[in-house]
């Protein structure tokens, strides 16, 4: 299967890309690998099930609940019951319904922002790593400055100054303050890749820098980029909830973060209304854990040293028999 160091055919970029993918290079990711990740790594499987569940809820959940999330029932601040599974808020809104709608908005914006941040990281990191020299020096300096600037306080500062509150504001603020981590990782990877044979070949065959960066280097970093997207989504969902909890989001929409905001502002805690602030937290924690589990699997895939060797069952049985025999 391995083509080894077969020189890529000039002027046939598709063939070049194909060859790089088939090289034993450890960072490329193929469909078969994804399947193997799923079936052989229980962590990834559990993670995918959890995330899949939330995505499903986000997609079809709102279609299954009858009332609007802001519909006000007559029983205010009711404890969980058969009628209101997760109780009601001080205004009589059904917490379960809010949670379902909140899932949609939090997941949608979490993933959108995560992808947006990663796109910035990819463009900046790959450009710096590929060109090297002065371009790299300047971009690296900017990356490092953004790395040391405290992200969340900066996000709060910017969000406080932007007069229109809303999901887009939160997205922009988080993107501005959190692209640097991914950019640094990707820059390092690209730097180590730019002198490889297939890149040299593409360069000498006259491919444009743009083409080399996005068609030759990018496919070889899919595992890292995927891990980066997932890691960023975890951060983004937490940061969004944090900003919204502070009242810096759009408090009229229903999301996990704004549910916290209203619960906190109405002293849910002092009223003993645990059902009000408990569910969104469980959701965020579960989703975050699910995403982290998937990332664990990708990490183990990209760095075999983190992987525990799997001993085939037959050999294991023999070993046990040997031990018993002695």
């Amino acid at each position: 299967m391995s083509l080894g160091t077969t020189a890529p055919i000039p002027n046939q970029p598709e063939a070049t890309a194909e060859a790089t993918l088939k090289q034993p290079g450890r960072l490329s990711m193929r469909l078969a690998d994804i399947r193997r990740l799923l079936t052989q790594n229980p962590k990834v499987l559990i993670g995918v099930i959890i995330v899949g569940f939330f995505v499903l809820v986000a997609l079809i959940g709102p279609l299954l609940v009858q009332k609007d999330p802001t519909f006000s029932y007559p029983d205010k601040l009711a404890a969980p019951s058969a009628e209101h599974w997760f109780g009601t808020t001080k205004l009589g809104e059904d917490v379960f319904t809010q949670l379902i709608y909140g899932t949609r908005s939090s997941i949608l914006w979490g993933f959108l922002t995560g992808i947006f941040v990663t796109v910035i990281s990819v463009v900046v990191g790959l450009t710096a790593g590929y060109f090297g020299g002065l371009v790299d020096d300047i971009i690296s300096l900017i990356i490092n400055v953004f790395l040391v600037l405290p992200a969340f306080p900066l996000a709060v500062l910017i969000a406080a100054y932007i007069p229109f509150k809303g999901s887009i504001t939160v997205t922009i603020v988080i993107a501005l303050t959190s692209w640097a981590w991914g950019a640094r990782v990707l820059r390092g990877q690209t730097l180590s890749m730019r002198k490889r044979d297939f890149i040299e070949a593409a360069r000498s065959s006259g491919e444009s820098s743009f083409h080399i960066i996005f068609w030759e280097i990018l496919p070889n970093q899919l595992a890292i980029i995927a891990a980066n997207i997932i890691g960023t989504v975890v951060y983004v969902i937490l940061a969004e909830a944090g900003l919204e909890f502070l009242g810096l989001g759009d408090t009229t929409t229903v999301s996990w973060g704004t549910m916290f905001y209203w619960a906190q502002n109405n002293d849910a805690l002092l009223l003993g209304a645990w059902w009000w602030f408990l569910p969104p937290g469980v959701c965020i924690a579960l989703l975050g854990a699910g995403l982290s589990l998937i990332n664990f699997g990708i990490d183990e895939y990209a760095d075999p040293r983190l992987r525990r060797e799997r001993i085939p069952k037959a050999i294991l049985r023999k070993l046990r028999m040997l031990q018993k025999g002695q």
């Binding site: 040391v148 007069p163 229109f164 944090g242 502070l246």
Partner: protein
């Protein structure tokens, strides 16, 4: 030495960047924060305060570069402006009042968390595949994914509201005066335990997982094998050979989190109504107290930068490879 100077130059540059960001964010923001604020304080602000405010938000006829120089100049003299919420208290005085609380609470928690997490990380990497190593990482993962403030709300609800074991809010009891007496200090500590606990619980996993992964990488190095082959005690191999080399990335993380000592406690301080920088930041956000907001951001940045510089220095001592640069 040259390396050190380069780092120093970098941190100065980063600080300048944050100063500049701080200068431009209010000026680039659409709308007019000064106008909104003046409307809020209609007639209650003396004319010189209005003037100072307008200056602060760049509502002057001066060209931008002049404003910029004025801004840098006043910062150089430690003049951070006057708080809007607590007019006319200088922002710097407010910060001086809040800072000790934050440093005591978060500094202690971060230290505990770092020490405990790193230690557990070393042990579970050493006993790879044991039941501890199988159970702890997933649990820690879950803990790490829990939103900080939610964990805080939950512990507050269970341990303070339902069980009544801890005070429900504040840094000390009402009616007490901050002073150096046994009564006050023990009161302050009993108020601090719960917030500190939540910070430790939610951050310990990062240290643990980071240390574990670094340890595993180090354990596969030849010199560790060599040490084992020489017949050194497992304890010696674990601590002096593996852990000592694996701890470097965690130390970097420690520096970064020391920087976030000031900013990271924002949500915790809010939930526990604990006095400190985070709580002040929250009030600044809610009251549109922009001078306070900006000063806090600068303070947080400064701590982060100083912490980073310190770690660079520690690195020079610990890791001889960095000295050659």
């Amino acid at each position: 030495m040259r390396q050190l100077l380069r780092r120093l130059f970098f941190y100065l540059l980063a600080f300048w960047a944050s100063l500049t960001l701080n200068f431009f964010i209010p000026r680039l923001a659409p709308g007019n924060p000064a106008g909104a604020m003046l409307a809020r304080f209609q007639g209650r602000l003396p004319p010189e305060a209005v003037n100072a405010l307008l200056l602060q938000f760049g509502v002057t006829n001066e060209p931008l570069w002049m404003q910029y120089i004025h801004y840098l100049n006043s910062l150089l003299h430690g003049d951070l402006g006057l708080s809007i919420t607590y007019y006319p208290t200088p922002v710097s005085a407010m910060l001086a009042q809040e800072l000790p609380w934050t440093i005591a609470l978060v500094g202690t928690s971060v230290l505990i968390s770092f020490a405990v997490g790193t230690l557990i990380g070393i042990i579970i990497a050493w006993k790879r595949g044991s039941w501890l190593d199988t159970i702890l990482p997933p649990i820690m993962n879950f803990l790490a994914a829990i939103p900080y403030f939610w964990l805080a709300l939950l512990t507050l609800y269970i341990l303070a509201y339902t069980m009544n074991w801890f005070p429900i809010s504040g840094g000390y009891s009402l009616g007490m005066l901050p002073e150096f007496s046994f009564d006050f200090i023990s009161d302050a500590i009993s108020h601090g335990i719960l917030p500190a606990l939540t910070i430790v619980v939610s951050s310990v996993s990062g240290w643990m997982l980071g240390m574990r992964n670094a340890m595993i990488t180090t354990l596969s190095e030849d010199y560790v094998l060599m040490a084992q082959a020489k017949g050194l005690t497992p304890r010696r191999v674990m601590v002096a050979y593996a852990a000592r080399n694996a701890i470097l990335p965690n130390l970097t993380g420690f520096a970064l989190s020391l920087g976030s000592v000031v900013g990271g406690a924002l949500l915790t301080e809010m939930v526990f109504s604990y006095p400190g920088i985070g709580f002040a930041l929250l009030q600044a956000v809610h009251n549109s107290d922009y001078p306070l907001l900006q000063a806090i951001f600068l303070l947080i940045t400064l701590t982060v930068l100083v912490a980073n510089l310190l770690v660079d220095l520690i690195y020079l001592v610990l890791d001889p490879r960095t000295r050659q640069g």
